[in-house]
């Protein structure tokens, strides 16, 4: 049964006001297409989870979608700050934004615990850090084999909705990813509802020809949206480059609330879809972002009859 649908329908179906939402992807494969549609549909009071909120959450916070952020690194990677978020956090604009803060490994372990239905996950971090003081969900735990040995534990994270972009998927939602994997698999398994967005919809035979490359099984996927170029300014390995120029430009845009608002009006609210957004960027920009070729080899799985 095909789960392929449009982004507007997928967001209408899966994302509700007040939901806990994770649009994951560590620098790679961040679905800006889904984030922008959530802005267009005016979702409110969302708890937004990501290791690195990145520009997508700076935009969603500026657009008024978010009540709370769950994260581990709150910046513009390689550039500096997320100014819209900072204004809210530093009390310079709007209502204060609730923050629930971990380290990268803490967030990763939260997704693994959520995916594994574990009530906690132990890790060697936080000792001597002030993070547990400001986040009571990070608690000490002892080894049952040696009460003297102290570690810390983090609680499971099971978002209401998880959105992951993949290079390709079939209509059932079996999704394949190469390049940086981030926490796409763990987040997807931890989600109550899962939206897979892909560069290319492929026949099941393409997936089944290389099952080791499948990161997310269709079993846990609720909807599949085909959104080529849907990660810009993030990237899809082998399809288009990260638009570092835009990441730099965003610094100036997001410093100025009026410019930011104008940008949202022009590039998000002013377009009907991410396809339109991608067109608006222009083929020249896409040509700059086109990578050269670097093909993997093939392997033989063998037929056994």
């Amino acid at each position: 049964m095909s789960k392929v649908t449009s982004m507007p329908d997928a967001v209408r179906e899966l994302v509700r006001d007040g939901d806990t939402v994770a649009i994951e992807g560590f620098t790679h494969l961040i679905s800006f297409a889904a984030g922008h549609e959530i802005i267009r549909q005016g979702r409110r009071d969302l708890t937004l989870c990501r290791l690195t909120p990145d520009l997508i959450y700076d935009q969603m916070v500026a657009a008024g979608c978010a009540r709370r952020l769950v994260f581990s690194w709150l910046g513009n990677p390689g550039v500096g700050s997320l100014h819209a978020v900072r204004r809210r956090v530093e009390g310079r604009e709007g209502d204060p934004l609730e923050l629930e803060e971990y380290s990268h490994f803490g967030m990763v372990c939260r997704y693994v615990a959520g995916a594994s239905r574990l009530p906690f996950f132990p890790l060697r971090s936080y000792e001597g850090s002030d993070l547990p003081k400001v986040n009571p969900r990070i608690v000490p735990i002892e080894s049952p084999y040696d009460p003297g040995e102290r570690l810390y534990a983090v609680p499971p994270l099971n978002p209401d909705v998880v959105v992951v972009h993949a290079q390709r998927a079939d209509a059932e939602g079996n999704a394949q990813i190469w390049g940086l994997l981030g926490v796409q698999r763990e987040a997807a398994f931890a989600g109550e509802r899962v939206l897979v967005v892909c560069e290319e919809l492929v026949e099941p035979e393409v997936i089944r020809a290389d099952p080791n490359r499948t990161v997310i099984p269709g079993l846990i996927v609720d909807a599949v949206v085909v959104a080529p170029r849907g990660c810009h300014p993030s990237f899809a390995q082998g399809y288009y480059d990260r638009d570092n120029r835009f990441y730099r430009e965003w610094d100036a845009i997001s410093r100025d609330p009026e410019r930011l608002e104008a940008w949202l009006d022009e590039w998000v609210r002013g377009v009907s879809s991410h396809e339109e957004y991608a067109e608006k960027l222009g083929e020249e920009r896409w040509a700059e972002l086109a990578p050269g070729e670097a093909w993997s080899g093939r392997v033989n799985y063998g037929s056994y009859e």
Binding site: L74, G78, S103, H104, E127, L131, R185, E186
Partner: protein
């Protein structure tokens, strides 16, 4: 090629500290350039691990972000972040982890979270990222940061990544904590009690200036030396190969 920027000196001094090290957990910016410079000079066998999940990265360009696509193409292995943090870092495979610091105190405690109060920050900084677990699980921690009274403080506003915890590290930690702090002014180490100590001054930097830019009574090593200046080859590698656009070093 004559003259160099303070950042170039900082990168060169950091790279030299990597002599003999085997596995380095790399961040973007200066640490990335320092590691790649070390691979071309003092430590050809140095293996780079990136938190995004990459082992044996061979970036064809200077990555702006820690998740640049050039880190993936042509690398030896790409793992999920769970495997990277659990098996490599927590597993004890990382010899040196690089950290930056907005504030650092005499015991190497690092703040990258907030200036001011956590609940009502003057400046909200990015936070830990992987820094907290790097500080605890990397066998050694190298800190790279510019030195001033704003960054070298008596007390950090928030401890994001633990240093020597006033000289005491809990039992069973494999990490020795911060061992080197390289700044634009000099190179610091830590004494037996876990207190920071100035070990070398970069060329042309007077001791008074370092003292003036440090927010506590800085200890100075008995055999304080001068950091050997960058060689022409080191500068050539940085300027022509590693950071031709000067993104991170000028």
């Amino acid at each position: 090629m004559t003259g160099w920027t303070p950042t170039e000196m900082m990168v060169v001094a950091s790279a030299r500290q990597l002599a003999g090290e085997r596995v380095c957990f790399v961040g973007v910016g200066p640490p990335n350039i320092a590691c790649n410079l070390a691979r071309r000079t003092v430590s050809p066998g140095l293996q780079l691990v990136y938190e995004a999940g990459v082992f044996g990265a061979r970036p064809a360009r200077l990555p702006l972000s820690i998740g640049d696509p050039s880190l993936a193409t042509g690398s030896d292995a790409i793992h999920g972040m769970f495997e990277l943090f659990a098996f490599y870092l927590q597993g004890g495979l990382v010899d040196v982890g690089f950290l930056g610091a907005s504030q650092i105190d005499r015991h190497g405690n690092i703040n990258t979270t907030v200036i001011g109060e956590y609940g009502a920050p003057k400046v909200r900084l990015p936070g830990s990222g992987g820094a907290c677990e790097i500080a605890i699980n990397a066998r050694k921690v190298f800190v790279i940061t510019s030195q001033s009274r704003r960054s070298f403080v008596e007390r950090v506003d928030f401890t994001t990544s633990p240093g020597h915890l006033a000289g005491r590290r809990p039992e069973g930690w494999i990490g020795a904590g911060p061992t080197v702090v390289v700044t634009d002014l000099g190179v610091h180490g830590f004494d037996a009690s876990g207190e920071m100590e100035l070990r070398s001054l970069h060329p042309g930097v007077p001791l008074d200036r370092v003292r003036a830019e440090t927010g506590w009574e800085l200890r100075v090593s008995e055999d304080l030396s001068e950091t050997p200046p960058p060689t022409g080859e080191e500068l050539r590698l940085i300027r022509e190969e590693l950071d031709p656009e000067g993104v991170a070093t000028r």
